[in-house]
Amino acid sequence: MSERVNFHFEIDGENFTSAGEASVRIKKHLRDMGFSPDTIRRVSVAMYEGEINMVIHANGGSADVDVYVDRIEITLADKGPGISNIELAMQEGYSTAPDNIRSLGFGAGMGLPNMKRYTDNMKIESEVGKGTTIYMTVNV
C-alpha cells in the first residue's frame, strides 16, 4: 500500500434514511484492504456514530478517512451549531437530540462516548455557531 489512501464522503444532512451509507462503504474498503475484523469494526462504528450525529445535529458535513499502514484517521467536519459544553456532551446518556430522533433509535447519549470507546485517540474542536470537527485515530 502506498503511504496514504484517502476516502472522502459528503454526508447528506437532509436524509436520515441514508445516514450510515459512507460507513458501510468504508467497512467494505477496509475489508478489501485486508484489515482485521476488529480494526474494521472500530473504524466503521466510530464513523457511523459520527455520520448519525452530523445528520441529527448539523445538517450534514464531510467525512475523510485516511488509511496508513499503522493507523486509520477519521476526520468529521460540519458547519452545525457547535457543542457548547464538550465535557457534558461526552457523558454517556447526555443528549440534546430531539424526541423524534429517539423514535428512530438514536439520541440515547451514546454517540460521542461510543466514538471514544472504539478509537485510540479522539479530539473535538468546536465553536458555537461555527461548527464542529472531530479527529479520531484507530491504531492498526
Binding site: V24, K27, R102, A108
Partner: protein
C-alpha cells in the same frame, strides 16, 4: 444456537436469508436504541428489536451480526429487507414481545453479550 432453532422457539417467519438458517449465533441483544447496540461487541450475535428502519440493518452490519429478529409482530418496509439481503443477513419476524422473545432464547441457552470493548 442455530438460527433455525430461533425460528422454532419464537415461531418466527423468515423475511430473508433462507439459505443461511444453519448459521450459528453465540449471543443476543434485545434493544431499540441503536447506539446501545453499538456499545455491544460480540460477533455472530442476533439483534432483537422493535425498530423497523434502515439504521437497524446498518447497525447490525457494523457489529458483524448474522441475524435480526423483529418482535411484536412488526414488519419492516421492503427497502429495509432489501438492505438486509444485500448485507447477507437473516431477517426474522415474530409476534412475541421483546421481553418474552429474549426470555425464550435465554432460557434455551443463548447468553447475552458483554458491554464495552474490553
Amino acid at each position: 444456537m442455530k438460527i433455525s432453532t430461533i425460528i422454532d422457539l419464537l415461531h418466527a417467519r423468515v423475511l430473508c436469508g433462507e439459505d443461511k438458517l444453519d448459521g450459528v449465533v453465540n449471543s443476543a441483544c434485545g434493544c431499540d436504541m441503536m447506539s446501545d447496540v453499538l456499545a455491544f461487541v460480540k460477533e455472530q450475535a442476533v439483534l432483537l428489536t422493535g425498530l423497523c428502519n434502515p439504521q437497524v440493518v446498518r447497525t447490525a452490519v457494523m457489529m458483524d451480526m448474522r441475524c435480526i429478529v423483529f418482535v411484536r409482530g412488526k414488519l419492516p418496509p421492503e427497502d429495509v429487507i432489501t438492505l438486509a439481503k444485500e448485507a447477507g443477513l437473516v431477517v426474522l419476524a415474530t409476534d412475541e414481545r421483546m421481553y418474552t422473545a429474549c426470555g425464550k432464547l435465554y432460557i434455551n441457552g443463548l447468553a447475552g453479550g458483554e458491554v464495552g470493548n474490553e
